[in-house]
């Protein structure tokens, strides 16, 4: 048996002597609090009875940057409570009956934390095309970011369900979509607890409605 020790040691050496490095492919993407994190958190975590300044569930108010930072360890996404609860197996946030955050949303949040969880970094304006406006490429992403944390799933807030196009069309027809996002008198200002949707995005919604609010 002893005679086998040397061949084994030799193979172990050969395997171990391969270069072993720790590299990652960096990204040019800079995640912005105002444009990406705030709308996502407001839409997913501050719905009624949750982490808003009125209900203060568990004492958390995530409508402000400082409030959110109580569950974030800048530079360490894996050690941040925020990351742990949105990826947990059983005690997951947002809780039932709401959907788990998507992989893209989790990546956005983790990347923001990893980049230092900053508030005031210079962000380039994201491309906002008000000429060619379609439901699938322009409107759906706006709704996903600003509205669908509350207005999807089996128990959508205010019984306004954006699970499918038909629900969106209904709020276009009765005027509540545009009234709410423009924050006009007589409508509930939306997104609730959050800042107004950027003007350019509201212009996209207006353009889409004026063209017949098609499912295109």
């Amino acid at each position: 048996m002893l005679k086998m020790t040397w061949p084994v040691a030799g193979m172990v050496y050969v395997l171990a002597s391969f270069s072993c490095t720790d590299e990652y492919i960096g990204t040019d993407r800079v995640v912005c609090y105002e444009q990406e994190i705030a709308p996502l958190i407001v839409s997913s975590c501050t719905r009624s009875e949750c982490h808003n300044p009125v209900d203060l569930q568990e004492g958390y108010d995530f409508t402000t940057y400082d409030g959110l930072l109580t569950v974030v360890k800048p530079g360490d996404y894996a050690g941040s409570k925020l990351y742990k609860v949105i990826t947990d197996a059983f005690e997951v946030m947002p809780p039932d009956p709401f959907e788990r955050l998507t992989k893209d949303d989790i990546t956005t949040i983790a990347l923001w934390i990893e980049q230092g969880a900053q508030k005031d970094i210079v962000c380039s304006e994201t491309l906002c095309d008000t000429l060619d406006v379609r439901y699938s490429t322009s409107i759906k992403p706006i709704l996903d970011l600003y509205c669908n944390g509350c207005h999807t799933g089996t128990q959508p807030q205010g019984d306004i369900s954006y699970n499918a196009y038909a629900g969106v069309k209904a709020t276009v027809d009765n005027g509540t979509l545009i009234g709410s996002v423009r924050r006009e008198r007589g409508f509930v200002a939306m997104p609730k607890n959050g800042n107004k949707i950027p003007d350019c995005k509201i212009r996209q919604i207006e353009k889409w409605i004026s063209e017949g609010a098609k499912n295109n």
């Binding site: 084994v8 193979m11 395997l15 391969f18 990652y24 492919i25 947990d88």
Partner: protein
């Protein structure tokens, strides 16, 4: 890479200790002493489903294995429930001694070539000097063989080291009785380059494998990993496989369902696995045929 260096030195230490030597001396004491009987057939083959099992090949035996996995079953009739798309891993494992196996394999997924070394440190046995568990160490290297698109960013140079990943795994298993075998198999997978800063280069996971023998020829198996630090953390896509071993004179035929496409250690833990709860599982079958190349090889 400090961690894996420590593990290597631990492995070397165990090899040099060579516990079977003391056993030989005991055996030499003569017929008065109680016989030491090694426990065999804890698993039907040297793999549970995708993971290494506590079993080893006999000295001089060549194990030709073909692992097949089809596409996702939830694709419906148009894709014939996934059967239109298959990935494969073909491997040749050879038992150099009864306690040491080496193997090479080629997977169609990412054209990966992998090689491993597997060494049995302790062998479960009954009788004199009995040993309650088997302890097996395995380490290997995996090389991505794609010509293009090795990395998602085309501006990053593809060097040889960026194609490589390694794994080290400790297997501690026990055959409790004729029917039931259980093993724990923690694993470390190191990738030299990863797709983003959010993904750790060293992935750790805690694995479990079990077999329950239903009849002489049929056994059910489970092969599961609990990843400790992957991104994003999502219990719905922990790698899990459930299978049935069917022994048909000379070879072992295994049918299984799994939520992972990859069939080597890197692909199993580092690639994105299917979401069990939305039916992202795949059907697969494994075939193993053992040829005794060197007859009655003594070690």
């Amino acid at each position: 890479m400090k961690l894996s260096k420590n593990i290597w030195s631990f492995c070397m230490f165990c090899i040099l200790l060579n516990p079977s030597k003391a056993q030989d001396l005991l055996d030499a004491l003569g017929p008065e002493t109680e016989q030491n009987i090694k426990v065999t057939n804890a698993f039907k083959s040297s793999r549970v489903i995708s993971s290494h099992s506590m079993e080893m090949l006999p000295a001089g035996a060549l194990d030709f294995r073909i692992l097949h996995r089809f596409g996702r079953v939830n694709q419906g009739f148009e894709e014939f429930f996934g059967l239109d798309n298959a990935t494969m891993r073909m491997s040749f494992d050879y038992g150099i001694t009864k306690n040491m196996t080496v193997g090479v394999a080629r997977s169609t997924f990412k054209k990966e070539l992998d090689a491993f070394l597997k060494y049995r440190i302790l062998w479960q046995s009954e009788g004199a000097g009995k040993m309650p568990v088997s302890v097996v160490w395995t380490s290997g290297v995996i090389r991505n063989g794609l010509k293009n698109n090795v990395l998602p960013d085309p501006e990053v140079d593809i060097t040889e080291s960026r194609r490589l990943a390694y794994f080290h795994q400790l297997i501690i298993g026990r055959k409790f009785n004729e029917h039931f075998t259980f093993q724990i198999n923690p694993i470390l997978v190191h990738q030299n380059i990863v797709e983003s800063e959010l993904i750790p280069n060293n992935l750790l996971a805690f694995g479990l494998g079990a077999r329950y023998k239903v009849s002489k020829r049929i056994a059910v198996l489970v092969d599961y990993y609990y990843p400790l630090n992957n991104f994003p953390r999502d219990f719905r896509s922990h790698p899990i496989s459930l299978g049935v071993d069917i022994e048909t004179g000379g070879h072992v035929f295994q049918l299984h369902f799994s939520n992972s496409t990859g069939m080597n250690e890197r692909a199993l833990l580092a690639e994105e696995n299917g979401n069990l709860f939305s039916g992202e599982v795949q059907f697969g079958f494994n075939l193993s045929r053992i040829f005794q190349i060197v007859k009655n090889k003594i070690d």
